[in-house]
């Protein structure tokens, strides 16, 4: 009899030497963050009036949002296109998106000169501002992600509510509340799932529109009116590679068998998406004739070439090969390259391409900026590990359980 795969909390020890490294990195990041709050943004970053945005926006926010795209792409595939066999990846992708977006929000706050006014956009609207739209969409989407995660919390605690001390008298009440919540969510979840996909499409693309207003301050290789479309396509393109990348890492780290068949199936979809993205990227270059900038060796042309060749063309070719898609190692390398490509693209669009008319110095992130970015990533990894130990997120073989489809969307119409 084959074991049935079901999401369940992982029972492994939390601390390993690898985890300790992340703890140290997280601590260093937090120290630099403290300096930012004492001495202002200038005390930690290399930002100045010529370069108002650095890696805290270009990577922590823009790349963070792109890499969290696995959440909405797998929700679309699993719930909307209703491919049951992908359900094993939906929860890990959801958790990644949840943590990813939470840290996007935190990173934005850290980068705001007046972080305590972060709620202002809720009541002070500016319809012409792309940033306003991104901000509002991200806020709503983050809420949607938490709602999507609630059933997992309910599943974990229903029938197991065990509050300490005096509070234990409330056990029954909390339990029935959870049950009511779960039932209610079960019927309405499809509303949130579709909303999540729509909101993602909106802000993933608008994140690209952000830099359009910089006009001639941006290098023509990246400044194009189809930036929003390119951002949306690359986000969709990086969604599944991110899921594969994580799935392989966590099965390794938790000593589980990699879910190669599902990942291979996912890999089948990636090639075509990357192909479409590449076609738009090249088409745009041809129409605007920006290839002339590639004939000389400059930082921009080299960065552009790396982005396209190593970050798009090579992994595209790899995903088209069946051999690569069938082997965990091949999938891992190809997925890493796609992630690298999107990393390069966001870095290029937000930082490399940005050349203000009066540039007296060039921007390179300070040690503090890098430490904070690395620290945030470490905290995310640590939280992920903690969450999968507490909540039923990762599917692994279980004995004596019946197939369960509860969290597919039901009760449509």
């Amino acid at each position: 009899m084959e074991h049935f795969m079901k999401p369940a909390p992982i029972e492994k020890k939390y601390f390993t030497p690898g985890v300790m490294v992340f703890v140290v990195l997280a601590a260093i990041g937090l120290v630099f963050l403290a300096i930012r709050f004492i001495g202002g943004i200038g005390a930690v970053t290399n930002l100045d009036n010529q370069h108002p945005w650095g890696i805290w926006i270009g990577l922590d926010v823009a790349l963070g949002v792109a890499l969290a795209a696995g959440g909405f792409t797998s929700a679309a595939l699993g719930h909307i296109w209703h491919r049951e066999h992908y359900h094993a990846i939906i929860r890990p992708a959801l958790l990644t998106a949840l943590l990813g977006y939470t840290f996007v929000a935190v990173s934005v706050a850290m980068d705001l000169g007046r972080y305590y006014y972060i709620w202002h956009p809720l009541i002070m609207w500016n319809g012409t501002s792309v940033l306003f739209e991104v901000g509002i969409c991200v806020m709503i989407y983050l809420t949607v992600l938490y709602i999507e995660f609630l059933p997992i919390v309910a599943e974990r605690f229903i029938g197991r509510v065990n509050l300490p001390g005096l509070l234990s008298r409330l056990n029954k009440t909390v339990d029935s509340l959870l049950r009511a919540l779960d039932r209610g969510l079960d019927k309405t979840m499809f509303v949130f799932i579709i909303a999540g996909v729509v909101l993602s499409c909106l802000h993933q693309s608008s994140l690209g529109s952000l830099m359009i207003i910089a006009g001639p301050k941006m290098h023509p290789l990246w400044q194009t009116p189809i930036l929003p479309l390119l951002f949306l396509l690359s986000a969709i393109g990086v969604g599944f590679p991110m899921v594969i990348f994580e799935s392989l890492i966590s099965s390794r780290s938790f000593g589980l068998k990699p879910e190669t068949p599902i990942l291979t199936n996912l890999g089948n979809i990636i090639g075509p998406i990357l192909g479409i993205y590449l076609a738009f990227k090249i088409g745009d270059m041809v129409i605007r004739q920006t290839f002339v900038y590639l004939t000389t060796i400059t930082t921009e042309s080299v960065m552009y070439a790396i982005e396209i060749v190593i970050g798009v063309i090579v992994p595209l070719r790899m995903f088209l090969s069946e051999q690569v898609r069938k082997s965990p190692a091949g999938l891992f390398i190809a997925s890493s390259l796609v992630i690298f490509g999107v990393f390069m693209n966001r870095l290029n669009t937000f930082l490399v391409a940005y050349t203000p008319p009066y540039e007296m110095t060039t921007y390179f992130p300070s040690v503090g900026e890098i430490a904070v970015t690395v620290g945030f990533i470490s905290i995310e990894v640590l939280l992920y590990r903690l969450m999968v130990k507490i909540f039923p997120v990762i599917s692994h073989p279980q004995k004596d359980v019946a197939p369960q489809t509860k969290f597919s969307v039901r009760g449509m119409i």
Binding site: W53, A76, N126, T128, V198, P228, V409
Partner: protein, 299 residues
């Protein structure tokens, strides 16, 4: 950017809206929600007259409660060795450009916010902290600003500056066209102090007339161009010069308002919320169909 690009973009944005019809290509003019008064004021800077005494720098700081120092210290011309930019401690600065013809005098250029008619900063600001006053001034509201610095990304003249060294309540600093003085009937501080009348304050309309007349009467003195007349949709501050403006480090900008492209894209994606709602409906439909397929398979 080419006109064609935008049009083809708008077509693709229809794709983003997942094949929704009703998305018409709008022209790319920015939507002016702010009042643009016919009688808005402006300043005409005649760089052929400016002697680079930097008194305006001192007056500006004094008027805006910034540490100004001694007015005599501004006679030091060694600052001209390097190009300077307005920042959080000086809302206006004067630069000097030596003349390629050594028998001629160098040109001095005062730099500050241009007070655009279609300000990119205003369009971009996430909370709408900027407004264009009827008087022409583009002013910033400290009550709203959250310090995201998107205005700095947007401004085509690279003007807004940020107080990076402040942990609490850092401001965006830029010239406010002395709005507090002008509403009380006073001249902007820089205009008032200028000893050679290189700066003329007046209705923007009239200033353009004045500038045209000057160019017509002294064709040897001026090049036939007013910077700010049409650049990025027109600005309240305008410049006359005897040399090409690019030689004086003015950015080369087209006539389209800086926020135009981004606003029309934004408008395309959000046209009355039709695209997002249609996408929602479309996905709902797909979900329902797939669900049905599944059911019929089970039966």
């Amino acid at each position: 950017m080419l006109k064609q690009d935008r049009r083809s973009f708008l077509k693709t944005s229809a794709l983003i809206g997942a094949g929704i019809t009703g998305l018409k290509s709008k022209d790319t003019k920015a939507q002016t929600r702010h009042v643009i008064s016919e009688d808005r004021m402006g300043v005409l800077v005649d760089t052929t007259v400016c002697i680079g005494c930097r008194k305006c720098e001192w007056a500006c700081k004094t008027a805006h409660d910034l540490p100004a120092g001694d007015i005599e210290s501004y006679e030091d011309r060694s600052v001209y060795e390097k190009m300077r930019r307005p920042d959080d401690k000086a809302l206006t600065v004067v630069n000097e450009y030596s003349n390629p013809d050594p028998t001629k005098l160098p040109t001095n250029v005062k730099v500050q916010c241009m007070h655009c008619d279609e300000p990119a900063c205003l369009s971009a600001c996430i909370v709408g902290a900027f407004s264009k006053d009827e008087s022409g001034s583009v002013v910033w509201d400290t009550e709203k600003c959250i310090g995201c610095r998107y205005c700095m990304i947007a401004c085509p003249f690279q003007i807004p500056a940020f107080e990076y060294d402040k942990a609490l309540q850092p401001d965006i600093k830029k010239c406010d066209f002395c709005i507090e003085r002008t509403t009380q009937g006073q001249l902007p501080a820089c205009v008032e102090i200028c000893p050679v009348e290189a700066l003329t304050y007046g209705r923007r309309k009239d200033l353009i007339e004045v500038a045209r007349k000057k160019i017509k009467n002294y064709p040897d003195r001026y090049i036939d161009s007013i910077l700010g007349d049409t650049e990025v949709g027109g600005t309240s501050w305008m410049y006359l010069s005897g040399r090409d403006f690019q030689e004086l480090d003015f950015p080369k900008l087209g006539e389209d308002p800086a926020p135009g492209v981004s606003e029309s894209i934004q408008h395309g994606i959000f046209a009355y919320f039709v695209p997002p709602i249609s996408l929602y409906a479309l996905l709902g439909g797909v979900m329902w169909l797939n669900k049905k397929k599944e059911k019929s398979k089970e039966e």
